[in-house]
């Protein structure tokens, strides 16, 4: 009986706490959410941590190890390891990122971007996202046996997904992440299963500090004079061009390589790839598939094959694909930026 009374008391307290948290003006909520995200960023940059997490997509779960630490001269060391199946590691030492994958020889890239399951923007300047997303601090819950603060990164329009982050109150680190549609449908989740923060560099990272990474690939700088035949006429607000090039798209090394014109766009959180090439077929109905939050879209209209890939809803992919037009000769691909602003709705 006593227990029941206590429970009731707790419940009422909880309710009053959440309502009082929801009552103040939304601006303060946003501000506190931003503070949380900034704290996440500094924690990800400065703490020595050893974590494990599981990426849960439609019907599969993939476990990873993630280690991070500061080595000599405050050089950042980071290891992502996929634990199931063939080995896939991402190693980072300062600004050299190495990818070790079963299909090809290990290679390094000079970049401050680790393309792992966790978006790198969380380590960087979160205010880049303010254009396209709202930050909302929601409430507290218990994740991984810790007190967690739920922060929602909500898309301002219907053309992208929302991200929910559960952050550790003690360390500010990520405990759980979910990608949801606007309707609240869960697409992908990352659940941490273990977190350890230490003052010392962990043994694995100390060892990694001594190993040498493969030589960095020299990326050929795209000549600006190169002519691009196609341009994207519509993109959701906030996306800008990251790069564009011509390369061969090899379909599983079957020899039927085809040259494509490639464009990469990003809004800071999400990358969208657009592929355009001429096809012998005149028409092919839209085909698409999704892998967790990643949408792959492809169609042929009037002899032009367009592919769109990224963590975006189908509507967005379709709309982008339909907006492909022959480039106006003078502007080249810079016209993309100009056309971006027209898509500001909701």
């Amino acid at each position: 009986m006593k227990l029941l009374a206590l429970l009731l008391l707790l419940l009422s307290f909880n309710v009053s706490a959440t309502t009082s948290a929801a009552n103040p003006a939304t601006s303060s909520d946003t501000a506190s959410a931003k503070r949380w995200l900034e704290r996440l960023s500094t924690s990800l940059n400065q703490l020595n941590f050893t974590t494990s997490f599981v990426v849960v997509k439609s019907n599969q779960a993939e476990p990873y190890h993630w280690l991070h630490g500061l080595g000599e001269n405050d050089q950042e060391l980071e290891i992502f390891t996929r634990l199931n199946g063939p080995r896939r590691d991402v190693l980072r030492k300062g600004d050299i990122v190495s990818y070790i994958e079963p299909e090809q020889e290990a290679y390094s890239v000079i970049s401050n971007d680790v393309k792992g399951p966790i978006p790198t923007i969380f380590r960087g300047d979160i205010s880049e996202l303010e254009d396209s997303y709202r930050f909302i601090s929601v409430g507290r819950s218990r994740v991984l046996g810790r007190v967690a603060q739920l922060i929602r990164i909500v898309a301002k329009d219907k053309y992208r997904y929302s991200y929910w982050l559960w952050l550790d109150q003690q360390t500010g680190l990520l405990l759980k992440m979910a990608i949801l549609t606007r309707q609240g449908l869960l697409l992908e989740q990352i659940q941490f299963t273990h977190i350890e923060v230490s003052d010392q560099l962990s043994e694995n990272l100390a060892q990694f500090q001594l190993t040498e990474l493969p030589e960095a690939v020299k990326l050929v700088r795209q000549q600006q004079s190169k002519v691009f035949a196609w341009q994207v006429n519509w993109l959701p607000h906030g996306f800008s061009a990251v790069k564009s090039n011509h390369h061969n798209l090899n379909s599983n090394n079957r020899g039927d390589e085809k040259a494509v014109e490639f464009m990469l766009f990003s809004d800071g959180l999400v990358d969208i790839s657009v592929y355009v090439n001429l096809s012998q077929e005149n028409f092919r109905a839209p085909e698409y598939a999704s892998d967790g939050a990643t949408m792959v879209f492809n169609h042929i209209v009037q002899g032009i094959e367009v592919g769109v890939v990224g963590n975006i809803p189908l509507v967005t992919a379709k709309k982008i694909a339909e907006s492909i037009v022959p480039a106006r000769k003078k502007n080249g691909n810079s016209s993309v930026q100009g056309s971006v602003s027209e898509s500001h709705d909701d």
Partner: protein, 232 residues
């Protein structure tokens, strides 16, 4: 007199001790058992109470006691397992001797036995309950395992797309998984007309080609994303 009696019966029905008149009080129950009129009053009061409390069963069996006593009277000597112990204790009296006594006694003893078994059951169930819950949890786990195994076997039965599925991808993204539907479709159609089969093969080939196209895109996307930007 009868008015006082019925009044006291009424209060007895309502769980109050009847009037202070102890002479009525003490003999009330005995009188009631003897007097058919009083017992029917007792019965009626209960029925009224039931109706008022809305506790009347859907099919109202007005005289349960009569049917029960009739059933007991009709019941012959029971040769139940415990009647053997009964007969051994009553070995002086022949079995056919006094049916009424015999049955009443056997009823008593069975009721005792039932009582004991009930108590025993209660104890057991109290003991077993947590175990049962564990068992339920365990069976749920077993179900899950079965389910998972089912899934696995399902996956392995995807023959046409297996080739595609085993081709590893470059990035973290996993093989595009829409193939299940197509294979189901294919399975259902198998064993039908050959023309249809040919069509299916074409369809499957088309699906494989489609999947290959989409996977090539996905693969290249993850690769390109890793290579970083060249505009800055």
């Amino acid at each position: 007199m009868s008015e006082i009696k019925s009044e006291s019966i009424s209060s007895l029905v309502d769980n109050y001790s009847p009037s202070t008149d102890t002479s009525v009080n003490t003999h009330l129950v005995d009188n009631m058992l003897k007097d058919e009129h009083l017992s029917s009053t007792w019965q009626n009061y209960h029925l009224i109470g039931d109706v008022l409390r809305d506790e009347v069963p859907q099919s109202l069996q007005l005289d349960l006691s009569k049917t029960i006593s009739a059933a007991i009277a009709q019941e012959a000597t029971i040769l139940s397992p415990n009647s053997s112990t009964q007969s051994s204790s009553n070995s002086f009296a022949p079995l056919t001797n006094d049916a009424v006594v015999q049955t009443s006694e056997s009823v008593k003893s069975t009721s005792r036995v039932i009582d004991a078994t009930n108590r025993f059951k209660a104890k057991i169930s109290a003991l077993v309950k947590p175990m049962g819950q564990v068992a339920i949890a365990a069976s749920a786990a077993a179900l899950m395992i079965v389910g998972v195994q089912n899934n696995i076997s399902d996956n392995s039965s995807i023959t046409p797309s297996q080739v595609v599925q085993t081709v590893p991808l470059t990035g973290y993204a996993n093989p595009v998984s829409f193939s299940v539907q197509s294979t189901k479709f294919q399975k259902n159609q198998q064993g039908k007309l050959q023309a249809q089969q040919v069509m299916n093969e074409q369809l499957a080939a088309e699906r494989v080609a489609q999947q290959r196209r989409l996977q090539a895109l996905l693969k290249d996307h993850t690769q390109q994303v890793k290579l970083g930007s060249n505009i800055k």
